[in-house]
């Protein structure tokens, strides 16, 4: 059963980021919301780690409004990330069998 993983904190100062990546199975999806969008910025080590996960045929998504409310344009996203709006967020929840919020 493919799972949608949700992260909402920056990769620094919390074990959630590493724990989430370690717990992702092939076919799972990852959605970065709130402060977790910082993890997908181009040139950051976290974006590199996330891309490595994406390479294992997972999908990585970023909530667009949380990027923009943090004064970050979509252009600053590292390669391999897809932007979704809240409607897309709802669709992802529907698409995957279950969701997990790592906090």
């Amino acid at each position: 059963m493919p799972v949608l993983h949700l992260l909402n904190h920056t990769p620094r100062g919390s074990e959630s980021f590493a724990r989430c990546l370690e717990s992702m199975a092939e076919g799972d999806g990852l959605l970065l919301i709130e402060d977790a969008v910082y993890a997908a910025l181009s040139g950051t080590p976290s974006a590199g780690e996330l891309r490595a996960v994406a390479a294992a045929r997972n999908r990585c998504f970023v909530l667009k409004s949380d990027l923009e409310s943090r004064a970050l344009s979509v252009r600053r996203l590292a390669e391999g990330f897809e932007c979704v709006d809240f409607a897309g967020f709802v669709d992802l929840v529907a698409k995957y069998d279950a969701s997990i919020s790592w906090g």
Binding site: M1, P2, V3, E15, S16, R19, E22, S23, M24, A25, D28, D97, A98, S99, I100, S101, W102, G103
Partner: protein
């Protein structure tokens, strides 16, 4: 009674003295069990500290969470798992634990997630 049954996985990741959090987490777990649902509880990251055996009768640790954990058995929650790596990283071993729990490897967490349909990180 509710229509369908679900498989709940609780991932306990917080240390025991994080305010009321632990008590409220146990209340969720016990309530789901009282509905006769499949319940698996996985202790990982700082959550493994919740399983450390109390120092003894009348110690603060005994009164705080040791007895409540034993209620897991009362509510027939027998799928109690501990992430082995989280234990090791905190200098703990299976002999430090207050209740019987099966050790699992980090890769197993992935499998567990796929086997449950209600995933609750607490």
């Amino acid at each position: 009674m509710s229509a369908s049954s679900r498989r709940f996985l609780f991932l306990v990741r917080h240390s025991p003295l994080a305010g009321a959090r632990f008590r409220e987490t146990l209340d969720m777990i016990f309530t789901v069990a009282a509905f006769d649902q499949w319940v698996t509880v996985l202790f990982l990251d700082d959550g493994v500290f919740q399983l450390v055996a109390p120092l003894g009768e009348h110690s603060a640790s005994d009164l705080l969470w040791g007895p409540m954990l034993k209620a897991m058995d009362f509510y027939d929650i027998h799928e109690i798992l501990v992430d082995e790596q989280s234990l090791r990283l905190r200098g703990l071993t299976a002999s430090d634990l207050v209740i019987g729990a099966a050790l699992v490897a980090p890769e197993h967490v992935r499998t567990l997630l796929g086997q449950h349909d209600r995933l609750v990180v607490c």
